[in-house]
Amino acid sequence: MTQRRKWTAIPGLLALAIGAVVLSAYSGASSSQNRQPVQPINFPHPLHAAGNLKLNCLYCHNTANKSPDPGLPAVGTCMGCHIVVRADKPEIKKLWTYYAMGGPTAKPIPWVRIHKVPDYVHFPHMRHVNAGVTCQTCHGQVQTMDRVYQYSSLNMGWCVKCHVNGYDPQEGLRATGYVPDTGRTVTPAGERKYARYDCANCHY
């Protein structure tokens, strides 16, 4: 190689290598953390899950403790209150258009999905909910989110960390935002909830 070419080639390759390393940090399990899509109806969780109503998450996401699928409220569930409540507001009017009194033009609300694990992962909500993992541990304080965003990365490493290190119920309580943050105590290992991290637990 000539001198001139050496000074072009080596720094060039070095630049490519550094670039690849740096950019690879963004590679692999591309995370959708913090994604906050616009929804067809601007449903405000703070109004429903906090404030005066303080509806339990399971009121709408009713199968989270029975099924791998957490469940999404049927349009009829919303209408249960909104047939009278705030019927004049524009967002509720949108709801009414979707429900259309259950008539022929009724269509379900096409919510934009935020949390999704790949198809080769089988995530059972009910095992987690029944083990005492608070919703906010993974989903953040949804009751404060005007528009829901993805709080956790949902990467496999993030899941496995909890399965291996154990779930700390105190930490879970603190995550809800309903418990005052007084004196950070860490539950000893013996009292934490451990779970399987065997591959075939989720990947089948």
Binding site: A20, L23, S67, G76, C199, A200
Partner: protein, 1031 residues
């Protein structure tokens, strides 16, 4: 000095530099942030349905109508879609088992070739129509025909059903002045039904196989298509499982069917010669005369007579499909010493119209005596012999209506299609045994909103007609049906009954037995060197299964050939004529000829050729295979059936016997065409070559206490059947990697989930399976059940082959070894090795699946740890880690690992195995694999997890035998048992300790979790242990 001109090489060098830099840049760019995974939308319900939890299955009890038997099934539905069928444990006929054809009912429900809307033929072109238009057209035609005064000549051909619908249909027909319908089933053995009625007072008695000391079958293939196979198989397997007290089984017939291969002895009689043997046993005639007529040696007949005299009681069955079918079955009934209990019969086979009556109706059509015709659920244009010339006769009927779901041959000849709903989408009932009504309820909403239940269509048509509307006051068929049921269809009765799927009581009895049969006078035997035997395909039946890819992909249990037709010929004859496997032969009879590849088979007489029925569907409009893209209606019974194989019915003269069934045997001649093809088969070798895969033991070797008299020398490395919790193998450390290894950095202190003290307690379990080869009959129901449960793709369709260097033909991928069946039924022959004809050979069936070896050869060789041994004993395959080196499959001695050579699971690839709406059937609990991924039996890990989740929700442990794998659940022989071998409460733990238990390839030290129980042979007479011993 001028500058040297740049030689061309410099330019190339620059090009390569640019190319290299560009590639590097592109690669770097590709490694960047690719964006979040597409998540799509979440669609809620409008109104939350009752009792449906998304993500959890809902089960409906209903019934199967893939054949006439009417077994009860439980349909598992998920989010409103039926995804799996299993037998209903409460049903008296099938008691929880379900055959391959029943499993494949889902592929009829979700068949991509189903009609989506009514169709009207104008000229020769078909067009879609609305229901209003279609019903009006039918009502109009009915009115016009009545106006001409000929409506009374109308003919309705309906698939044979038991239950209330036949009565409903007849009342509808009567209100229009039409005669009662013809209840058609081309699979029925009319000769046997006729003789049974006379001898036993029932069309199809329940055979008490449990009470027999000897079973003799004169060509009655009771395990593969004769009558209701599932109850026969359940009872037969139970009887054989008694080991010491099991009956010996002798099969007499020209071709050794699957039933014949399960027999301890085959007597190869000429077609039609069985009657002489039966008469001989009855004491009419001597051995020599019988020998002359049947072609069986007098010595064999004498031995048979001796055995028949000494082994009492003997159960004698016969098939009535031959020329003298009725006399043969009557003779068998006279010989039969195990009389069926009076009143205990399979009533679903009552009232089937004789094929001779159907043919007589066809003749009336031909002479213009039929003004209007309806066809529902049956395909006479295909299933009647071509010599009956159905198409010509049918064309003479001025107006023809089909209610078919599929674009079959008969429908193509019609003028109007009013597509029916599938059994799983509609209401109905059946009566398989007297006193028990099986209820049929929809397991889901119709897949296609443009299809309607025929009964509801008939009511709608009647309501339009002022003359008959008054007779049809009910809003729909469901209302009509409920009123007729015991309990009047009250909510209280029905809620309880529908949960079980059965209702005690009886629908109206069928019409009395018909008058003395009028047989079509048999013509003189046609000439030809060979006998031709045609037989119902165990998977395709009379052809109705050909549009379901699972059934096309299911290797024939006897020949292991799939996606094809073939002609079976004995090796002795083949050698004599210079015919080899795959040579295309022209088989010719007086009725017609077909071209099929030759298949050498030990189980056929040297003077006999055997050809299966079920293939050769065709359409005059479309003669080529589906190309994978065409959007038009796929006539010829759909994309999976059209132009696959040949129709053996083209060879049969339309002759029927005294019972009214078409005679399935005739004479033929064969000639070589000079062409050759590779026979599509999954079989590697038909012989074990001393490998000891399917082992057998003579019943004489098992002494009175059920222990083996002689213990075989066990090879080194034997795995005694102690299934210790967790890993069994002494090389456990190797299987679990560095975890727990004394040489690991932490000296093996950390064992993770493999530690028995780990709170997850995974090591408490050791999942294992036993397969009892004394019960297994080779039916292959387990294979299709596995396809259904685990989203296994079918790969043999003509258009699924590679894009380059591939031949587009059915089964091409199979010939390349790309079949995906996680569980396969292997069949090995023992004996008859010199190619000369002998009746003395044995067939051994062995289901082969991933053995979940404790010391698996596949685990250490995966470079990316995509396969490993789980602490609970499973050999796990993690699809998303797999990069497709295929080293694991290379190392597997059982060859039970399957690679996705193509994107069978990817919708945009041409090899996609689940064209819309077949993908609705996919099990959401099992990943659909993409190209480049290895897959194999997982011991239904999704069911294990489901049971564990359910137990955790209910705050309890998983109970013993709480759940089982799909294959074990389906098996009508109850040969497969699955469970936790580390827990004494599970059934499998006891079975593993059975004296007949062994591991396949024990000497390889694989420590398999699948334990086989040796087949038990029942040799004739008292033989010494040395004579009877086999390995």
């Amino acid at each position: 000095m001028s500058e040297p001109t740049k030689p061309a090489g410099v330019r190339r060098r620059e090009f390569l530099k640019v190319l290299g830099a560009g590639t590097a840049a592109a690669t770097a760019a590709a490694c960047t942030y690719a964006g979040p995974e597409e998540t799509g939308k979440l669609i809620p319900y409008l109104v939350s349905p009752d009792q449906t939890v998304p993500g959890v299955s809902t089960y409906y009890a209903t019934l199967c109508r893939e054949c006439s038997a009417g077994c009860g099934v439980i349909a598992e539905t998920r989010d409103g879609r039926a995804i799996k069928l299993e037998g209903n444990p409460e049903h008296p006929l099938n008691r929880g088992a379900l055959c391959a054809r029943g499993q494949a009912g889902l592929q009829g429900l979700y068949n991509p070739d189903r009609f989506r809307t009514p169709m009207i033929k104008s000229g020769s072109a078909w067009r879609a129509a609305t229901w209003d238009e279609a019903i009006n057209l039918l009502a109009q035609n009915l009115g016009e025909t009545r106006g001409r005064g000929v409506l009374g000549t109308g003919v309705f051909l309906n698939q044979h059903e038991s239950g209330s619908f036949p009565a409903f249909l007849d009342s509808w027909l009567a209100s229009y002045g039409m005669r009662p319908h013809l209840s058609v089933d081309f699979e029925a053995d009319h000769g046997a039904i006729d003789a049974h009625r006379r001898a036993y007072g029932a069309s199809w008695p329940r055979w008490n196989l449990a009470d027999a000391k000897l079973v003799i079958s004169f060509g009655a293939d009771f395990l593969d298509g004769w009558g209701a196979s599932v109850p026969h198989q359940l009872d037969f397997a139970e009887a054989r499982a008694k080991i010491k007290d099991a009956p010996r089984f002798i099969y007499i017939g020209p071709r050794r069917s699957l039933t014949g291969l399960n027999a301890d002895q085959w007597i190869a009689s000429k077609p039609g010669g069985e009657l002489a043997i039966a008469n001989f046993l009855l004491g009419r005639g001597d051995a020599n005369a019988a020998s002359q007529a049947s072609g069986v040696s007098p010595a064999t007949l004498q031995r048979l007579a001796q055995e028949f005299a000494s082994a009492k009681p003997a159960l004698v069955l016969a098939g009535g499909g031959g020329d003298n079918g009725v006399e043969l079955v009557s003779a068998a009934a006279a010989l039969n010493a195990v009389k069926p209990a009076a009143g205990d019969a399979i009533t679903s086979l009552d009232g089937i119209a004789r094929t001779s009556d159907v043919i007589a109706t066809v003749e009336r059509m031909r002479t213009g005596q039929v003004a209007i015709a309806f066809v529902r659920g049956t395909n006479p244009a295909y299933a009647l012999p071509k010599s009956a010339r159905f198409a010509d006769a049918f064309a003479k009927v001025p107006f023809k209506v089909s209610f078919s779901m599929f674009p079959d041959e008969t429908t193509e000849l019609c003028d109007l299609v009013l597509p029916d709903l599938h059994t799983l989408e509609s209401w109905g009932d059946a009566e398989s045994t007297r006193g028990t009504i099986t209820l049929q309820q929809p397991a889901m909403d119709p897949v296609f909103t443009g299809t309607r239940s025929t009964a509801d269509v008939l009511i709608a048509v009647a309501k339009k007609d002022s003359a008959v509307a008054s007779r049809f006051a009910d809003a729909d068929y469901r209302a009509w049906l409920f009123k007729r049921l015991p309990g009047g269809g009250s909510a209280q009765t029905m809620t309880a009954a529908l949960a079980k799927g059965i209702l005690p009581g009886s629908s109206a009895a069928r019409a009395a037995a018909p008058a003395a049969p009028a047989a079509i006078t048999p013509a003189a035997s046609t000439t030809g060197d060979f006998f031709l035997v045609t037989y119902l395909s165990p998977s395709l039946g009379d052809g109705r299964g050909a549009n379901k890819p699972w059934l096309q992909e299911l290797p024939d249990p006897v020949t292991k050939v799939l996606w094809s037709s073939w002609a079976e010929i004995h090796p002795e004859t083949a050698t004599r004529l210079g015919i080899e496997r795959g040579d295309i032969l022209e088989v010719k009879t007086s009725a017609g000829s077909i071209r099929v590849p030759a298949l050498v088979y030990l189980g056929v007489r040297p003077d006999t050729i055997a050809v299966p029925l079920g293939q050769g569907h065709a359409s005059p409009a479309q003669s080529t295979w589906f190309d994978g893209k065409d959007k038009a209606v796929q006539w010829g019974y759909g994309r999976y059936a059209r132009a696959v194989g040949a129709n053996a019915l083209d060879l049969l003269p339309a002759r029927s016997n005294a019972g009214g069934g078409v005679i399935g045997t005739t004479r033929c001649s064969i000639s070589k065409t000079g062409e050759q093809t590779t026979v599509v088969s999954t079989e590697g070798s038909a012989r074990q070559h001393g490998r000891g895969i399917a082992q057998a033991i003579s019943v004489n070797e098992i002494d009175a206490h059920g222990e083996q008299v002689e213990h075989e020398v066990k090879p080194p490395g034997d795995a005694p059947h102690k299934f210790l919790p967790g890993l069994r193998s002494p090389v456990a450390a190797d299987a679990q990697g560095e975890l727990g290894s004394p040489t690991a950095a932490d000296q093996g202190v950390l064992q993770g989930l493999y530690d028995p003290k780990n709170p997850a307690k995974m090591t408490k379990r050791r999942w294992a399976m036993t397969v009892d080869l004394a019960r297994c009959t080779g039916c292959s129901a387990c294979v299709t059940a596995c396809y259904s449960e685990n989203n296994i793709p079918t790969v043999g369709a003509p258009w699924q082959n590679g894009v380059v260097y591939a031949t587009h033909s059915p089964g091409f991928n199979i010939t390349r070894g790309r079949e995906m069946n996680w569980l396969r039924l292997e069949r090995y022959y023992e004996g008859a090795e010199d190619g000369r004809f002998t009746e003395d050979f044995e067939a051994r069936f062995i289901p082969m699946l991933c053995q979940h070896c404790g010391n698996a050869p596949c685990e250490p060789v995966c470079p990316v740890y995509a396969t490993y041994h789980a602490p609970d004993g499973l050999n796990v395959q993690v699809y998303n880690r797999c990069v497709g080196t295929r080293y694991c499959s290379n190392n597997c001695p059982y060859k039970v690992r399957y690679f996705n050579w193509f994107g069978y699971g990817e919708p945009d690839r041409v090899q996609y195995a689940f064209p819309d709406p077949l993908h609705w059937q996919l099990n959401p609990d099992v990943t659909v694999r993409t190209k480049g991924v290895m897959e194999k039996c997982s011991f239904c890990v999704q069911r294990i997890r489901e049971a564990e989740h359910r137990a955790a929700l209910e705050h309890r442990e998983v109970e013993a035998d709480e759940f089982t794998t799909a294959c074990a659940a389906a098996c009508p022989s109850r040969a497969i048992t699955f469970g936790d071998a580390a827990d004494a409460n599970w059934s499998v733990t006891k079975l593993i300790e059975d004296e007949r238990a062994y591991h396949v390839f024990e000497e390889l030290n694989t420590y398999t979790a699948v334990v086989y129980l040796k087949k038990v042979n029942h040799p004739a007479g008292a033989v010494t242990a040395a004579e009877g011993a086999t390995r």
